[in-house]
């Protein structure tokens, strides 16, 4: 008797548990997993509107000869390889400085550096576009300081346009990542550093042998989220350079947008292009997990 009622109680509690999570499960399935399957099916189809039909792997073959896609892929990889490491290092460095117990105005520095993360991507992109315009504030300042003789074509030169995008993203996201490192650093026991200091470890040595290993889970977390973010880059390029000049800053997301909603809609091929981002994210995440996991 007693066993039976206990079993019923357990079953009851298990069912109650599912009741709490069922809405979330349904929503995630309906708006993430189901569309993902739809996109996969779509990626093997061609045509417009209701006249979609299967065309095998033709869409995937087209990727390798599509110059615009290859440019977008190359641009996205450049942003990723240059911007993510710079930003991660910068945010670790700043958070280590801010974690110094004797630092004054800590709250001010923290709030100021976090402030860019409050802005909307569109608003700051528009502001950066104006600041980095040929007659913009940045060129004006650099000319006044006699650092440059002719204005830099921040937006209209293929090379400088990429630099502008990288500067913009770094400005926007460094403070955001810093918060994660700060909270990670607060969990590190100060006595570890004291012990290291007594053993005569230099500041750099302490950083390399204590801070970095202890922050590893957070480094992994921020580098994966930043990688995913950069692979999906859209708002900045759309509003600062519009992918120009001549596709020099076109990102994969923007190409998908163009394929589906700007040119004659080609949903099938757009879905194929979108799957390359999925594959890249999965691959890069596995690599990052492997790299971080190895040294544990």
């Amino acid at each position: 008797m007693k066993n039976q009622s206990a079993a019923r109680l357990r079953l009851n509690s298990r069912l109650t548990g599912w009741m709490f999570i069922i809405f979330a499960v349904i929503m995630i399935c309906a708006f993430y997993f189901y569309p993902m399957i739809q996109a996969l099916i779509l990626s093997f189809k061609t045509g417009t509107g209701a006249n979609m039909h299967f065309n095998g792997v033709d869409n995937y073959k087209r990727l390798f000869t599509d110059k615009v896609f290859l440019t977008a892929l190359k641009n996205t990889c450049i942003f990723l390889i240059i911007q993510v490491p710079i930003m991660i290092l910068l945010s670790i460095f700043i958070s280590v400085l801010l974690n110094d117990s004797k630092l004054k105005f800590k709250g001010f520095f923290r709030t100021a550096i976090f402030l860019p993360s409050v802005t909307s991507l569109v608003a700051y992109s528009v502001v950066f576009k104006y600041m980095f315009g040929t007659d913009g504030l940045v060129n004006l300042a650099l000319t006044k300081l006699h650092l440059i003789s002719a204005p830099i074509q921040w937006i209209t030169d293929p090379f400088w346009a990429k630099i502008t995008i990288i500067i913009a993203i770094t400005w926007r996201w460094t403070g955001y990542n810093m918060i994660f490192y700060l909270s990670g650093l607060q969990n590190i026991d100060h006595s570890i550093y004291e012990a290291a200091r007594i053993d005569g470890a230099s500041a750099f040595r302490q950083f390399r042998s204590i801070t970095i290993p202890l922050l590893k889970p957070i480094i992994l977390f921020t580098s994966i989220t930043s990688t995913i973010g950069t692979l999906q880059l859209f708002d900045e390029v759309m509003n600062i350079t519009q992918g120009g000049p001549g596709n020099a800053t076109l990102s994969i997301s923007q190409y998908i947008y163009n394929l589906s909603f700007k040119y004659t809609p080609n949903f099938g091929y757009a879905a194929t292009v979108s799957y390359t981002i999925v594959i890249l994210i999965v691959l890069l995440s596995i690599i990052q997990f492997k790299v971080a996991g190895d040294r544990k």
Binding site: F23, L115, S120, V122, M238
Partner: protein
Amino acid sequence: MTKFKRFWMYAFLTAAAIISIFPFLWIVISATNLSKDVSNGRLLPGSQLITNLHHLTQQINLGQALWNSARIAVITTVLALLIASLAGYGFEVYRSKTKDIVFNILLLSMMIPFASLMVPLYRMFADFSKTVPFFGVDTVSSVILPTFTTAFLIFFFRQSSKMFPKELLEAGRIDGLSELGLFFRIYMPTMKTTYAAGAIITFMSSWNNYLWPLVVLQSPEKRTIPLLISNLGSSYSPDYGMIMAAIVISTLPTALVFFLMQKHFVAGMTGSVK
């Protein structure tokens, strides 16, 4: 630490702070100057704010866009907090092996890029347009529905629930509260800081969301703030003063939310990152 090192430390942090703040100052200052002064690099506050605001109200319907954005952001935040906290609580308090597997599967959705969801979602809502009223393309629900449930927020609530004292639940059960009652009467009030941090994150990302509204909202009168700003920014001969005024106004709500709840935000974030 040597004085020399200390000097460089402050110099570096000051430079970082100035670089971070400067664009904000510039927007606010430029909102008070005429377009030609802005492009000449004037960095002093002017007296043209009213003129710029006047141009703004004449040329675009900022109020409408603010209302559209606010409505979407508030509904999204309320729904997101409710669904994600229920789930985070459920996963942690009623923990089981099967639920952990389901949880890990849900987490996978964080890896799905929005760019690959955009096309199928658009087609889905285009189908709704023909069948279900108020749910098709170009409606408020089409903006809210696919964005309010995020694995990130569920994860966030689950992580924070780890610090929730479970003895409180036992006490509540003895007092005769139902399981749902425990959640609403005990869990929710105890986890205020987590809700505050979750609200900031969700409100901001909804207010600032650009790509999905750009895809799904078509009529100009339904445009949200980011669509409007983007549109202004791409004009061929921009009125800088007016655009900066628009940006200031559109950034105020998120800045306010952030400053009012900053303490909770840092506390909430710290609780979740472990």
